[in-house]
């Protein structure tokens, strides 16, 4: 799906992403994890072409992602930014239907698709007609996810989809999300900074530090055969937090 070759992105003096080589396998869930500021979001932005790499290349299905190709490629990607990014001037339904309507889909086709998505993420009828400010954080995340799924993309790019939620809602939504991924069998790239969440979702976990990949593999591989003391430190730090 995605092929990154020495992908590098710097902002002035900051090297946000530094020489990343990564390939994303289709049909699997890849989790990007690492401490805050290590470049996870930037890597995701490079993949969808919101940022151009300062060095190296990013390609999707064999096509290089660049300003010329990005608009077309994006139709095949669903992206949810950190925080959801729902448009406050549109209702939940309008948010989800926005692009389809812009592309000229018929009303009935839009309605059928939204109904279908409703069942997928258990959104009640009245929520659809509300504005983002009128619905809860968990519902906002669901709506944002459905907006990304509307055009049935091949790949989902999710930046901390469960970031700012309270633990109960979070646990519910984790289960729901996993169900969706399994049902749809889509390629997913997901960012989190929580190791247990990474272990729960990730077929492959990519651990990053200061813009570079420290190790990538299954949770078992990272836990049992750490490539660097940092890997163990990172896993331990999170476990001790959970324990206390």
């Amino acid at each position: 799906m995605f092929e990154l070759r020495q992908a590098t992105r710097s902002f002035a003096a900051t090297l946000a992403v530094d020489g990343v080589d990564l390939s994303i396998a289709p049909g699997r869930t890849t989790v990007l994890i690492g401490p805050s500021g290590c470049g996870k979001s930037t890597l995701l932005r490079l993949m969808i072409g919101l940022l151009a790499p300062t060095r190296g290349t990013v390609s999707f299905d064999g096509v290089e992602v660049n300003p010329a190709s990005a608009p077309d490629l994006r139709r095949r990607m669903g992206y949810v930014i950190q925080g959801g990014g729902l448009f406050p001037h549109l209702t939940a339904r309008e948010n989800v239907a926005l692009v389809a309507a812009h592309l000229g889909w018929e009303r009935s086709r839009i309605k059928d698709r939204v109904d279908e998505l409703s069942r997928l993420a258990r959104i009640s009828e009245d929520v659809w007609e509300r504005y983002p400010i009128q619905i809860s954080g968990g519902q906002q995340q669901r709506v944002a996810l459905l907006r990304a799924l509307m055009l049935d993309p091949n790949v989902l790019l999710l930046d901390e989809p469960l970031g700012a939620l309270d633990p109960m809602v979070r646990a519910d939504l984790q289960r729901e999300l996993k169900e969706v991924f399994v049902t749809l069998g889509k390629t997913v790239v997901m960012v989190t900074h929580d190791m247990s969440e990474a272990a729960y979702f990730g077929d492959i976990i990519v651990l990053m530090k200061e813009g570079s990949i420290v190790q990538s593999g299954t949770f078992q591989e990272l836990d049992q055969a750490p490539a660097d003391p940092f890997v163990t430190r990172f896993i331990r730090a999170q476990q001790s937090l959970t324990a206390s």
Partner: protein
């Protein structure tokens, strides 16, 4: 949502473009911004009307430059001027020293000059009659015998070429107690005896009011300011009846008569048109009816003129301002230039901007002065650009990076992102800019009266000239009222155009 916005736009455009009045295409009389000139304009107008020609009097258009340019551009066909002004100001630096050579130079430019109307409105030196009689002063030379007299002159007269310095030299005057002050203040000081000698204009109404003796200029120091009519060479051919009728004024007005006319208007607040009609009746035995204009008539006329100025200039400001604001938001470099440019326009004084615009407007064949003046509309357009451009730019720049990124990631084109996401999100700020622009525009439009474009500024300026607070309020109150109405309209528009989701977020 989309259809509603389109509907609003359509209504606004229609309101802005539907003609409210047809343009008058008969002959036009102009007048300067002071009482005597307006009365002379009314005299010409009434005479033409008596001769069966329908004319328009574009009242109080401005100063010499504006009137003469308007005459040359064919915006007006005739106005009253003074020979001194023609030689010293209009034809300054062209070696024209007397009225006859001025006549020839003007004729080459397609402008004809009538014979003198009979009075001289020039400078004179004045004293209270009783004081002058007591001291036995009849001529300016006589002043030489009284070195202790206190002189008070307007600041302009203190340093004019034909003012105090040269007067002193011409007559060898010995007085040392000479100071500059406001002209009206000088009259009051003369009355209470603080000073004994001042300069006057020979037809000032105040001369009679204060009982002033004008000293004889026995060495012919002051140039003559004989009133004449300046008119376009083709007028005789186009409007022979009017041409003949107005020239009946030649040699008919004496200083004393004009002074009395000025006094009627300035001191007794009789409308200029009535003053002119009364003169024609007593002098030529003409039965001239002047329907008394009611306050309401004037209110409607001024409202129409004001709306005319505001609506077109504001529509233009929106049509150009919004795209400029969008461009400024999207292209930071161009943005700096655009914002600086519209900002600088704000700092140009209104009169300067108006005068600068008259020439280009006239050369484009647009009405440059008077009602519906393109120069005034253009100036108002420029003045209302700043809030519109700046708010559009700020509003778009204020859309959060997250939301812009989400829109881009959805695969929407830049144009679709602008239309579907960014403009709606910026709508509150954009509308606030439009509101500010419209209210500023209503206020600034009162300045259109500086070049005779009418509107609520007209009674304000006339009121200032005649020192008539009633008239000033007649313009100021409706202008404030219109600003409130505009504010109300925009509050309604806010409800229609700001998406509901954003209004909820505010609550």
């Amino acid at each position: 949502m989309k259809t509603r916005t389109a509907l609003i736009l359509l209504v606004l455009v229609v309101l802005a473009l539907v003609p409210m009045s047809t343009r008058f295409d008969g002959p036009r009389v102009g007048s300067k911004k002071f009482t005597e000139s307006v009365i002379l304009g009314d005299l010409v107008t009434l005479l033409a009307e008596q001769a069966g020609v329908e004319v328009l009097h574009a009242r109080e258009l401005g100063g010499t430059r504006i009137l003469f340019d308007a005459l040359r551009a064919g915006e007006i066909d005739v106005y009253a001027e003074y020979t001194g002004t023609i030689t010293q100001e209009i034809l300054a630096g062209q070696g024209v020293s007397d009225a006859e050579s001025a006549r020839a130079v003007l004729a080459e430019r397609g402008i004809l000059m009538s014979k003198p109307l009979g009075f001289n409105n020039g400078y004179a030196i004045g004293m209270i009659e009783t004081t002058a009689a007591r001291l036995g002063i009849r001529t300016i030379s006589d002043l030489g015998r009284h070195p202790d007299l206190v002189f008070g002159f307007s600041n302009e007269f203190m340093d004019r070429g034909d003012g105090w310095p040269s007067l002193k030299e011409a007559y060898g005057l010995p007085q040392r107690n000479v100071s500059g002050m406001d002209h009206d203040v000088a009259y009051r000081q003369l009355e209470n005896g603080t000073l004994q000698v001042m300069e006057v204009y020979t037809t000032d109404a105040d001369i009679r009011y204060y009982g002033i003796r004008m000293l004889e200029d026995d060495r012919q120091h002051f140039p003559r300011y004989d009133a004449v009519l300046l008119y376009r060479a083709d007028l005789a051919e186009r409007e022979p009846a009017m041409h003949a009728a107005m020239l009946a004024l030649e040699g008919q007005l004496s200083e004393v008569e004009v002074m009395a006319l000025n006094a009627q208007a300035r001191l007794k607040h009789v409308p200029e048109k009535k003053v002119a009609a009364d003169f024609l009746q007593s002098h030529f035995g003409m039965e001239v009816g002047t329907a008394d204009e009611t306050v309401w008539d004037r209110f409607w006329t001024h409202t129409r003129e004001h709306v005319e100025l505001v609506r077109l200039s504001f529509l233009l400001a929106v049509v150009f301002g919004l795209p400029l604001g969008i461009l400024a938001a999207k292209r930071p470099r161009a943005g700096q230039v655009i914002l600086a440019a519209v900002g600088i326009v704000q700092t140009i004084p209104a009169l300067a901007l108006l005068v600068v615009l008259i020439e280009p407007a006239a050369s484009l064949g647009l009405p440059s002065v008077g009602a519906g003046s393109a120069a005034a509309i253009c100036a108002l357009f420029l003045y209302s650009l700043l809030p519109i451009v700046r708010n559009a730019c700020e509003g778009l720049r204020g859309v959060s990076l997250d939301l812009r990124e989400s829109a881009e990631a959805l695969g929407l084109s830049p144009w679709a992102r602008l239309r579907l996401i960014e403009l709606p999100l910026a709508s509150r700020t954009i509308l606030a800019g439009l509101k500010t622009g419209a209210i500023l525009n209503v206020g600034f439009a009162t300045l259109g009266a500086l070049i005779g474009a009418g509107g609520y500024g007209q009674p304000i300026l006339t009121g200032i000239r005649l020192n008539d607070y009633g008239l000033i309020l007649e313009g100021a109150l409706p202008a404030a009222g219109m600003a409130l109405v505009v504010q109300g309209i925009f509050e309604l528009l806010d409800r229609l155009a700001i998406p509901r989701g954003l209004r909820l977020a505010r609550a």
